[in-house]
């Protein structure tokens, strides 16, 4: 006795193939709609901001008058901020990653640290702002300085750098390690001379991507009290400053239509900085890819 009538199966096959094609189109359309959103977003920003973009825009300070408003203080401020965030977060992140990958035993403390890192990555950035406000701005009395904001941002991107560095270190082949130990090298020598050089492309790529997140973050800066109207450039890490996303936020929230264009021009500058950083990351990734 047969249960499956092949004639019926063949008859149904057409319908099933139509359903398959239909859903393939739906899935493709959904995917394309996400890409379309990106295209519209970029087009909107360029079309609104291009007219305001000029050398003056880069060299002027902020102003009450849209036509004169420039981004100099914010651009320089963001660079200062990165000068604090980059070394702080990379030293802490890579150090943690080396500890977790090379030294930590498989015990409860390690599991706890690891779990803590993944949870920390999910804490909203505005909450990091509250931490920075309480600890760095008030308790350590750093005020709304570059240092206070920089430390806050460093902690914010720390989990990202740790995870990326751990992956980079983990992908160094075990044979390299063994070869180094086999010659009588100590653990630290092996780490410094063999593992880190091999892992550095991955670490750098991950770090640059993390820093590009930090340069676009706004909420923590607002909460730690970074001001907007700044008519001077900072001269040290204890000075007040403003940053690109702060400036863009301020311009965006002004009612005058002209300031929308200034904001769009500011976004173009910010996105250009991000593009530059990402290009460097992609360059490093491609240049050092698949060496073993």
């Amino acid at each position: 006795m047969r249960y499956i009538e092949h004639d019926i199966v063949v008859k149904r096959m057409n319908g099933r193939n139509v359903v398959n094609k239909l859903f393939k189109s739906i899935f493709l359309l959904a995917t394309l709609s996400a890409l379309l959103a990106l295209v519209i977003l970029l087009y909107q920003i360029v079309s609104q901001g291009a007219s305001h973009l000029s050398i003056d825009f880069l060299t002027n300070f902020a102003s009450r008058f849209p036509a004169e408003a420039g981004i100099k203080a914010a651009l320089v401020g963001s660079i200062w901020l990165m000068l604090v965030v980059a070394p702080t977060s990379i030293i802490l992140g890579v150090g943690s990653a080396i500890y977790l990958e090379e030294y930590a035993g498989k015990n409860r403390i390690t599991t706890f640290i690891q779990m803590n890192i993944s949870n920390l990555a999910g804490v909203p950035s505005v909450v990091f702002g509250l931490l920075g406000l309480t600890i760095f701005v008030r308790a350590l009395a750093l005020g709304n300085s570059i240092l206070a904001a920089g430390f806050t941002m460093s902690l914010l991107i720390l989990p990202v750098i740790i995870v990326a560095s751990q992956e980079a270190i983990r992908s160094v082949p075990g044979e390299l390690r063994d070869a180094s130990y086999g010659m009588g090298a100590t653990k630290w020598q092996t780490i410094v001379r063999i593992i880190l050089p091999a892992a550095i492309p991955g670490i750098l790529t991950g770090s640059i991507l993390a820093l590009s997140r930090a340069i676009g973050e706004t909420a923590p800066l607002i909460v730690v009290g970074v001001p907007v109207i700044i008519q001077f450039l900072p001269e040290g890490v204890m000075d007040t400053f403003t940053a690109l996303p702060m400036q863009i936020y301020d311009w965006s929230s002004r009612p005058q239509q002209e300031f929308q264009q200034v904001a769009a021009a500011g976004i173009i500058v910010l996105m250009s900085v991000l593009l530059l950083m990402n290009s460097v990351a992609v360059f490093i990734r491609n240049k050092f890819e698949k060496r073993y």
């Binding site: 047969r2 249960y3 499956i4 096959m13 099933r16 193939n17």
Partner: protein, 276 residues
């Protein structure tokens, strides 16, 4: 030298006689004519001609990379899942060219079941694994599904081992049992042909023996084409054997003939273990 040649010649004629006498008694399921296949620039199958008979076990042997798996996967067009595959020639399945535009792969694959190298049950219960095929082909009646599941599991000689744990995940049983679940899964859609791609290569000897016995049992109702690495296995279970080398069919004959009196020197070298 001259004696070997003489034996070869004798066996060749004997083989031909036997084959022609069988051709009248059984009809063919797959008739491959001048099949060529390329992976990109790599010419993987060259001018294959094979006539595969109904209710027989046909073994395909040959060293790694000889194209035996590729040929098997061409029979149900699974090979097309690899990017940049090109084919030419014909494979007639029951008189219809499987490469015809209006022959849908899904339709072909409901007639031709497949068992893979490594057991690959779905991450579902044993019951749902077996019922998967009938369900996608439109059978929803619970009672009929129950019957199909039991019949298929019995057919794959595993009913007694799993009848009390049908709702357990198929990954909770041993590898050998998983492979028989996969055979039962193929049986559930009542195929005409079953393709087996080194079905025992990942299994222990006892499980292998069970599968081999099962194959003998199944050939009463199905035509079976099995790719195997293991020449003893081919000798034990198959009626016909095709020897592949570098994408070509070197020799195709009754299994007894291939293993006792191969007509080609390369076949002889391979079965006597001189290479591969």
């Amino acid at each position: 030298m001259s004696t070997t040649q003489a034996i070869n010649n004798r066996s060749k004629t004997a083989g031909l006689e036997q084959e022609s006498s069988q051709a009248t008694s059984t009809s063919s399921v797959y008739d491959t004519k001048q099949l060529n296949l390329w992976y990109g620039d790599n010419h993987a199958l060259k001018n294959i001609d094979l006539d595969i008979k109904q209710n027989e076990v046909t073994a395909i042997i040959g060293p790694s990379g000889c194209g035996k798996s590729t040929y098997l996967k061409t029979l149900n067009r699974m090979v097309e899942l690899v990017p940049n595959v090109k084919t030419s020639g014909q494979i007639m399945y029951r008189g219809r060219n499987i490469f015809d535009k209006d022959y849908s792969v899904e339709e072909l694959r409901t007639r031709v079941g497949m068992v893979f190298q490594k057991p690959n049950p779905f991450p579902k219960s044993i019951y749902d694994n077996i019922a998967y095929g009938p369900r996608i082909h439109g059978i929803k009646n619970k009672k009929i599904l129950d019957e199909i599941v039991e019949k298929s599991l019995r057919g794959a000689a595993i009913w007694d081992e799993v009848k009390d744990r049908l709702n357990e995940n198929a990954y909770s049983i041993s590898g050998g049992q998983q492979q028989r679940i996969c055979i039962a899964r193929a049986l559930a859609i009542e195929p005409d042909v079953i393709l087996m791609d080194e079905p025992t290569s990942a299994l222990d000897p006892i499980s292998t023996l069970k599968i081999e016995e099962l194959v003998q049992e199944l050939k009463k109702d199905y035509s079976i084409i099995i790719v195997t690495h293991n020449m003893q296995q081919a000798a034990r279970i198959s009626d016909k054997t095709a020897f592949f080398l570098n994408g070509e069919v070197i020799e195709y004959d009754n299994t007894d003939t291939i293993f006792s009196n191969p007509s080609d020197k390369r076949t002889e070298d391979y079965i006597s273990g001189r290479f591969g």
